[in-house]
Symmetry: C2
Subunit: 113 residues, 2 copies
């Protein structure tokens, strides 16, 4: 594995699934995205993040949290509130956000020949 | 929005979060990935799929299912079992799979200026 995978603690824990289509142009997005990862890592209950985006600008970012309280607190962090606002006004054509409780998790491939 | 977003039915429903680092070379991956999306769409309880991968081969695919029974049935579909086996032996350097129950969901940006 590489460092773009989040840890796999024993469930249950929470996932925030953010799927987003970027608009064209950076408009400060790259710097803010880096800062948000840095800031999330400092939050209580943070487990990890997984993020990828293709050449069309379709991205999926999933952050993992120990419990609901942790993700609710993260939603309210002031710099993150600013990022959420800029996401709405500058960066995203469309996005969906889902909060989900992870019940089972595993990794592979153990079965490689 | 575009057609790479899954529908947003009222929760609860299930998400299967598959994060995977591809090995180099196609080895039939592209054709099988297309076939799996086609086949998943025919399964009872299928809601939709969201998938993206960057230029390093780090991909996230999330399939959404009406209930646990639907995703358990999907796991056992014979062509899908073959794809799972080839994933282990040919396509992925490492992957994680998480089953999560979606509790809340919304879309944006409603708040664009």
């Amino acid at each position: 594995m590489n460092n773009r995978f989040a840890p796999l603690p024993d469930p249950p824990y929470y996932a925030v699934i953010f799927t987003a289509q970027r608009l064209e142009g950076d408009f400060g997005y790259g710097a803010m995205a880096d800062r948000m990862v840095e800031l999330a890592q400092e939050q209580p209950g943070y487990i990890g993040v997984e993020s990828t985006r293709d050449e069309t600008g379709l991205g999926i970012t999933i952050s993992y949290w120990k419990d609901e309280q942790a993700l609710i607190q993260w939603k309210q962090v002031s710099e993150h509130l600013l990022a959420q606002k800029l996401g709405k006004t500058r960066w995203y054509e469309y996005y969906t956000l889902r909060v989900a409780k992870v019940e089972r998790a595993y990794s592979g491939p153990e079965g490689r020949d």
